[in-house]
């Protein structure tokens, strides 16, 4: 066999495998969307679920997912930014820094179920937050944090050394340099990464089963006082997210249309993740244009 034929065969094999991935992906999306899209309607997206009757919706679950995401991000983003900046700007190379880096790596590959159990033990029982949005957000923070740290570090390192040095030479403090010069430049990378990480939070279920709980109390959408127990904004109420809801109705659903609801909810979930991905790309491109000298 000549080198040329071998080359052609190898290329064909690689293209074939790449094609398989696209097929798997298209098949998956097609399967979920075809089964689910028909069930999605405005009513389905806004009405509460039913236990035994047909026609339940996913309104509270959708809201819970989004609210939990916001809560998680409120906790994760400042912490992740701070830790990431420390790692890239303040940490001195050495054993300790290496050790922290190792820790971040370990944390990022922790099985989500172990994090969930930890959340049950510590946030739910020990701190007494109970099954609540807040416990769920803390558990999600545990595994979103290392991701955020890595993203920030990457972003900071993408800043040209010269820009940083120029700012320091002008007599600006290091913190000011980081805040006003480096962070804006790193922002596109950080933001894109954050949005992608957010998509993952949206789909997490294993850790939330044990922390945010599997039921949604009756919500009063006219009550926006975060302290009232029926307010949707109360972070200390239990909340079933969309992913957990799919898990629940798949396993114990009594409603006659449970399979359709599961399919519809899966489709909604996928569409949301799709939107997150597109948003991340769009924002990334927009910011990139804004901050790199295309004036």
């Amino acid at each position: 066999m000549s080198a040329k034929t071998a080359d052609k065969i190898a290329t064909a094999v690689i293209v074939f495998f790449a094609g398989i991935i696209v097929l798997i992906m298209a098949g998956l999306l097609g399967f979920i969307l075809v089964r689910g899209l028909g069930h999605i309607s405005f009513d389905f997206l806004t009405s509460p679920p039913e236990t035994i009757k047909e026609g339940g919706g996913i309104g509270p679950q959708l809201f819970n997912s989004l609210f939990l995401l916001v809560l998680t991000m409120i906790i994760t983003v400042p912490l992740g930014l701070g830790a990431g900046i420390y790692m890239s700007e303040y940490a001195k190379p050495g054993k300790v820094t290496d050790f922290i880096r190792l820790i971040v790596e370990v944390l990022s590959s922790f099985p989500s179920i172990v994090v969930g159990l930890f959340g049950l033990l510590v946030f739910v029982n020990m701190f007494g937050f109970g099954f609540s949005l807040f416990s769920g957000a803390l558990a999600l923070t545990v595994f979103n944090l290392p991701l955020m740290v890595r993203i920030t570090e990457q972003g900071m390192q993408s800043v040209p050394q010269a820009q940083k040095e120029a700012s320091l030479a002008l007599g600006l403090s290091k913190w000011k340099t980081i805040k006003s010069i480096m962070l804006p430049i790193a922002l596109p990378i950080i933001l894109t990464g954050t949005i992608l990480a957010a998509g993952r939070v949206f789909g997490e279920a294993a850790a939330l089963l044990f922390t945010a709980g599997m039921s949604s109390p009756r919500l009063d959408f006219s009550d926006w006082n975060p302290l009232s127990p029926m307010s949707p904004l109360n972070p200390f109420r239990p909340a079933e997210t969309l992913a957990v809801h799919i898990w629940k109705i798949n396993s114990e659903g009594l409603a006659p249309d449970a399979p359709e609801i599961a399919a519809g909810a899966s489709a909604v979930l996928i569409l949301t993740v799709l939107i997150f991905n597109l948003l991340a790309r769009w924002v990334g491109r927009l910011l990139h244009k804004k901050f790199t000298a295309t004036k």
């Binding site: 300790v96 510590v122 029982n125 701190f127 007494g128 709980g213 599997m214 109420r237 114990e252």
Partner: protein, 311 residues
């Protein structure tokens, strides 16, 4: 430098851990206080209007019923908020005896899961009866199995349906995990013996998945609570007795168990009001029947922890 850093880290760790321990203590006491307050409030306002919140955690089999009943209870008492959590009977019993939940929902008697000490503190409220039936894939053309046949199937002595009066088809067992309350009930009252997990047998904890797998797998046998039964699987008679509400109530069909709602100590105030509502005629003849459970009030036989039956 290195050493001092390690020292600092160790210190921080001990501090946080100590803080955690402290937080734990203060929190449980706070929880108790809150509980006492809410019950006091409940008693005060008993005559007027109920308010406060209840957390019920536990059995996923009981969750739909409590959930449904809590909705109508909250409609009647708009200031009440009841949260019903799944998580399994074990979680429910843990949480209620630890004081994190007001009510622990369980498929089994607390004595079967907890040590005698903590179990003794719990007060049992039997709100419904759930009956189970063996189900098979519709292609297996049988409608009855004797106790003996069931035992032989679930212990692996019969592996082909032709030995149990069916077609020449390998038996596929869809069981529950050994920790499951549903399995404990089925083994105790249908088989009369504990069984080992057989190699190759499927185990699913959720009724939905059991039903799906029995429906789709040729030669499959499993067991489901009556509320999950429909035409997609064949429901079997047990020793020739059909699994109907009537047969369960008069004691001829033995495969059933109580659904328990445990409280730590005698309930009062709001929790008592809700538990009373659970056993009221309205719920017992309404939601209970509608969801496929059997009203506890209709039972002509009673059963204790050890399975002794009294009329």
């Amino acid at each position: 430098m290195k050493k001092s850093l390690m020292l600092v880290m160790a210190l921080i760790l001990t501090f946080t851990l100590a803080a955690c321990g402290q937080a734990n203590k203060t929190n449980t006491s706070a929880g108790n206080d809150a509980g006492a307050n809410s019950s006091a409030n409940g008693e005060k306002e008993k005559t007027t209007e109920l308010s406060g919140s209840i957390l019920a955690v536990g059995s996923s089999a009981l969750q739909p019923l409590v959930d449904q009943a809590s909705k109508s209870f909250m409609d009647k008492n708009p200031k009440v908020s009841i949260q019903v959590q799944g998580g399994g009977s074990g979680t429910g019993l843990t949480q209620v005896s630890g004081g994190q939940a007001d009510i622990g929902n369980s498929d089994v008697f607390a004595e079967e899961k907890l040590e005698a000490g903590p179990a003794g503190e719990l007060v049992d409220h039997q709100v419904a009866v759930v009956a189970m039936a063996a189900v098979v894939n519709p292609d297996v053309n049988i409608d009855n199995l004797t106790k003996d046949q069931l035992v032989q199937i679930f212990t692996g002595k019969i592996t082909n349906w032709k030995d149990a009066g069916g077609p020449d088809q390998v038996i596929q067992i869809v069981n529950r995990p050994s920790s499951s309350g549903t399995r404990a009930t089925f083994e105790k009252y249908a088989l009369g013996t504990k069984t080992d997990d057989l190699a190759g047998a499927i185990q699913e904890d959720s009724s939905g998945n059991v039903k799906k797998l029995v429906k789709e797998t040729p030669g499959a046998i499993g067991y489901l609570a009556l509320s999950y039964l429909d035409d997609s699987v064949t429901t079997l008679k047990y020793e020739g007795v059909e699994a109907t509400e009537e047969n369960v109530a008069n004691g001829t069909y033995p495969v059933w168990a109580y659904e328990h709602m445990y409280t730590k100590g005698e309930p009062n105030g709001l929790v008592k009001a809700f538990l009373d509502y659970m056993v009221s005629e309205e719920v017992q003849n309404g939601d209970v029947v509608e969801l496929g459970y059997i009203p506890a009030s209709k039972m002509q036989v009673k059963r204790d922890v050890d399975g002794n039956i009294t009329k």
